[in-house]
């Protein structure tokens, strides 16, 4: 404690003090477990209280305290309790104290209704969490909920403080039972370092000093543990991620790239690659106000210059060539909803991840989690404090890692585009490859578009064209004969006097989908555009004939939703793979030689439709049957 300064000269004290490190911790517990008492005592014992506060404390303890003759340390933190009564948002409060060995920042998260939001906020920056339980009550639902949130936010060190041991006669058995129960629960979570301390915050047992009443406890008191627990190695020093935050160009010949090192070590002379351009160069200098550095590590904020002139802007990332992040627009994450306003799944959010800002949509909500039971439930939106697993697509490519491995590049926030509130926060999961994640292309808001007042009625269109606008969607493997059927159908309908438009992959990709590639996100976007075009044309009375491999059932269902069930005819070309291959061998050959990716039937699956309106194959191009279908609509 700082009392020791008496034995040191002030110069010695300062020299020692400026070297100490910092620990950020979170305290959690349900109401009345003794959280305020514990924090108050830590502040008190480390002399973070001034005399005027002390006088007030003693006076208030006698007047309104709940601690009898003792000083009620909890009163120190009463600012927040008063706020609760006034109906002010209960929030995370940050408190500071230090000892000879360390400086501490406590994120104190009171209240229960908004507990999830507050705890998640406090936990996002914490190295360690103290979870309090009342020895009389043991492990309760809230203990489990808090522990789950702590593991979700990736805190690696937990201290289970079993408080109010005085009320159970300081019995070891009580303590042991509670610890065992907690350990059983922990096996379901991922927290590598857990400590157990029997404590009486009120009487000071095992807070600063070892308890004389619990000589059976051989471990350290809580403060000593906080002072000595090793946390600096929790940072990721392996994967260099240098997300450029600011480009410094004070004069012509100086071009510096400023950033906080998110992870890994960057060294002078390192060969680095710039994302997304993939250009490479060498680190010329690591510049700082205090002189050039040979290397920089997280969380240092430095400025780097490169040997070559490369165009780099905010949002770009420097990495080592042999250790790259995922470069993605499509990923899975655990999402915590933080907004009072419930989620509208059709929102185009603003996403912020490291120094990048772009648009994001939620494709799918896989499930939401009940934080008390950890059961998974289906849902189509989130409300305040709800947590679940989602699939996200962003407009711009991001450089990401799994949150588990890298908190800096694995986390993001979602901002509401209208209110600008931080609506949700996310932690990236890295288990399913982007190719296998579902895409959402249909939009449930569609139906809300106000009907225009065209002077031509749908009936009049039908009369004029002698047809009902609809889509013939032909799906099947590459080479299965789709195009032949489409052209034969087009000719036949033309001869019968119908008005049609034919759309195929090549045509659409040449123009309308020109900028899209063959990744799963872009393939989905490509088909969304086709479906929207069909919808517009069908509504104006025109028949569209579409031939697309469209291998996924989920995507075809969404296409049907966009176009409308009553206008959508699904034709399945059931030609088998071998026949299709023999029919059009070129692409298959390339795919088998790994020169071409994502060809259905080779490296991605083709899901056979369950209930097509009609099944044909290469030897049975029965377009008359399709004509019959059209007539029936």
């Amino acid at each position: 404690m700082e009392h020791n300064t008496n034995t040191l000269s002030i110069e010695e004290f300062l020299a020692q003090d400026e070297k100490k490190d910092m620990l950020r911790l979170l305290t959690a517990g349900s109401v009345d477990d003794g959280k305020s008492t514990l924090i108050g005592r830590l502040l008190f014992d480390s002399k973070r209280l001034y005399e005027d506060q002390l006088v007030a404390l003693e006076r208030d303890s006698k007047r309104v305290g709940h601690a009898g003759e003792n000083i009620d340390y909890a009163l120190l933190l009463d600012g927040l309790k008063a706020e609760r009564e006034q109906g002010i948002t209960i929030d995370v409060a940050y408190r500071y104290f230090s000892t000879n060995r360390r400086k501490f920042i406590i994120a104190d998260t009171p209240g229960h209704e908004q507990y999830t939001r507050n705890m998640v906020t406090g936990a996002s920056t914490a190295n360690l969490a103290i979870i309090l339980v009342d020895a009389k009550n043991g492990v309760i639902t809230q203990t489990k909920r808090h522990t789950f949130l702590i593991s979700l936010l990736g805190i690696k060190h937990v201290i289970l403080a079993v408080n109010k041991m005085d009320l159970v006669d300081y019995k070891q058995e009580v303590f042991n039972t509670i610890c065992e129960e907690y350990k059983t629960f922990l096996t379901r979570l991922n927290i590598p370092d857990v400590h157990f301390i029997p404590m009486s915050a009120l009487h000071g047992d095992n807070v600063v000093n070892r308890s004389e009443k619990m000589t059976w406890y051989k471990g350290e008191p809580i403060l000593e543990l906080l002072e000595t627990i090793h946390v600096s190695s929790d940072r990721n020093f392996v994967d260099l991620r240098y997300p450029v935050q600011y480009v410094l160009r004070p004069e012509h010949h100086f071009r510096g790239f400023s950033a906080k090192v998110a992870s890994g070590i960057i060294r002078k002379g390192d060969e680095v690659m710039v994302l997304p351009s993939r250009k490479t160069s060498k680190v010329k200098k690591i510049v700082s106000y205090d002189g050039d550095q040979d290397y920089a590590f997280p969380p240092q904020s430095v400025t780097v210059t490169l040997k070559d002139e490369i165009d780099i802007s905010r949002g770009d990332m420097l990495v080592h060539m042999n250790n790259q992040p995922r470069i993605e627009r499509h990923f899975e994450a655990m999402l915590v909803w933080m907004d009072e306003k419930k989620m509208n799944p059709n929102t185009n959010f603003i996403i912020k991840q490291t120094t990048n800002l772009t648009k994001a949509r939620i494709d799918t909500i896989r499930y939401k989690i009940n934080v008390n039971t950890m059961h998974r439930n289906k849902t189509d939106h989130f409300k305040l404090n709800e947590i679940g697993r989602v699939v996200v697509t962003t407009s711009k490519t991001l450089f990401i890692d799994a949150y588990e491995r890298n908190h800096e590049t694995g986390s993001f926030i979602l901002i509401d585009p209208v209110t600008h509130n931080t609506s949700a926060v996310g932690m990236i999961i890295d288990r399913v490859s982007a190719e296998d994640l579902p895409n959402r292309i249909s939009d449930s808001d569609h139906k809300k578009i106000a009907e225009g007042k065209s002077l031509v009625s749908p009936k009049e269109r039908e009369m004029k064209y002698q047809q009902k606008g609809q889509t013939i969607w032909i799906t099947g493997l590459h080479g299965s004969g789709k195009t032949d059927v489409a052209y034969m159908l087009e000719k036949r309908l033309f001869d019968l006097g119908h008005v049609t438009i034919l759309l195929d992959g090549e045509k659409v990709r040449a123009g309308l989908s020109k900028e899209l590639d063959y990744s799963s996100v872009d393939r989905a976007e490509h088909l969304r555009r086709v479906a929207e075009v069909c919808r517009l044309l069908n509504e104006q009375g025109i028949i569209t004939i579409c031939t697309f491999i469209s291998p996924l059932k989920d995507t075809r269902d969404q296409i049907r939703d966009i176009i409308g069930k009553d206008r959508f005819n699904l034709i399945y070309m059931s030609t088998d793979l071998a026949t299709s291959k023999a029919n059009k061998p070129e692409l298959y050959k390339l795919a088998e030689e790994n020169k071409l990716q994502y060809l259905a039937g080779v490296d991605t699956p083709y899901e056979v439709p369950e209930n097509p309106d009609l099944t044909l194959d290469i030897s049975d191009k029965n377009v008359e049957a399709i004509v019959e279908l059209i007539k029936k609509r």
Binding site: E2, T5, I10, E11, L14, D17, E18, K19, K20, D21, M22, Y50, E51, D52, Q53, G79, L80, I88, T89, A93, Y94, R95, Y96, S98, R102, K103, D108, V120, T121, S124, T125, S232, F237, Q245, Y246, L248, R249, P250, G256, S258, K260, I265, V287, S288, Y289, Y295, P299, Q300, S301, T303, R314, M338, K352, S411, F412, I415, H420, N421, T422, V425
Partner: protein
């Protein structure tokens, strides 16, 4: 190869955090400003800004809101230091209030603070259309600041609505504002008073000499020891002045800032005194005693 060390002292970690925050504002806002109060916290903050953009210049202006009742030594210090460093310094004061003769002796601390500080600040921000303003406030200064965000959102009227603050996670800051709205940014939120002194010492940051003890003419006024700084102090008070060895723990308007008796004339002695101190920092600010929960109130009205 020399063995590399990957751990940071608490001061260096706090410094890195502040630099990251300052750069983020410079990168994402169109027109930021750093509010410069001439105090020790501001002095730290300015040094951090210099570090953030080294070897370039700080890319935004500093603004001092002059209540016209600051200690003279503060103004001298400000002008010399700004000149030496080549800062882009804006000094703003409430012209109307000044011409009306508003002052703490004649109008009381509440009216004076409101017109010459709060109103003046809002005028200054509005006149230049700043969309972000850095302030040197710390969370440990006062109970009601403990839950203040680093990026604190203000509506069109510069008001702070405790219900309308954004969740702040990791170091990912939401900087989105609509036209007219703004953000106050506190890069040294996580610093304590001791951290600030340590940093000033470590970095050799110049501070106003009023922080160091020296014999000065003071008089008891509103239960505080107030410096006789100019002729505007009523004569009957000035006549009662006596020389005492004093220093100031915070700096503001001289009639509203109490001195403490002290022998501490070096940073080391100041820190030593602090560790054995008997009154928390803010009690030397007369303004706090005006009304219950006054800090909270001030904050809602737009004061820091």
């Amino acid at each position: 190869m020399k063995k590399e060390n990957y751990s940071l002292s608490h001061l260096k970690e706090l410094e890195a955090e502040a630099i990251h925050i300052i750069r983020e504002v410079a990168a994402e806002f169109e027109n930021p400003v750093m509010l410069y109060s001439i105090g020790k916290d501001s002095s730290c903050m300015v040094r951090l800004a210099e570090k953030a953009f080294y070897p370039g210049k700080v890319p935004f202006p500093l603004m001092h809101i002059d209540s016209k009742w600051k200690f003279r030594e503060m103004i001298d210090f400000r002008d010399n230091y700004a000149k030496e460093k080549g800062w882009n310094l804006i000094v703003h004061y409430n012209k109307e209030g000044f011409e009306t003769g508003i002052g703490p002796f004649s109008h009381g601390s509440k009216v004076h603070t409101d017109i010459m500080k709060t109103q003046a600040l809002l005028q200054g921000l509005e006149m230049h259309g700043f969309d972000a303003a850095f302030g040197g406030a710390r969370r440990d200064e006062e109970k009601s600041r403990a839950k203040e965000r680093i990026f604190s959102f203000r509506d069109k009227f510069h008001q702070w609505d405790p219900k309308n603050q954004r969740p702040e996670l990791w170091s990912t800051y939401n900087t989105r504002v609509m036209k007219g709205e703004s953000i106050r940014v506190f890069p040294i939120s996580n610093w304590t008073e001791l951290d600030v002194w340590q940093y000033i010492r470590l970095e050799n940051i110049p501070i106003v000499p009023l922080y160091y003890a020296k014999p000065r003419p003071v008089v008891k006024y509103n239960n505080a020891l107030v410096l006789v700084d100019d002729e505007r102090m009523p004569k009957e008070l000035r006549d009662k002045a006596e020389m005492r060895m004093v220093r100031f723990r915070t700096l503001g308007c001289y009639p509203l800032t109490g001195a403490v008796e002290s022998e501490a004339d070096t940073i080391e002695k100041i820190v030593e005194e602090m560790m054995t101190t008997t009154a928390s920092e803010r009690t030397t600010r007369v303004i706090d005693f005006d009304q219950e929960g006054s800090m909270e109130q001030k904050k809602r009205e737009g004061y820091f």
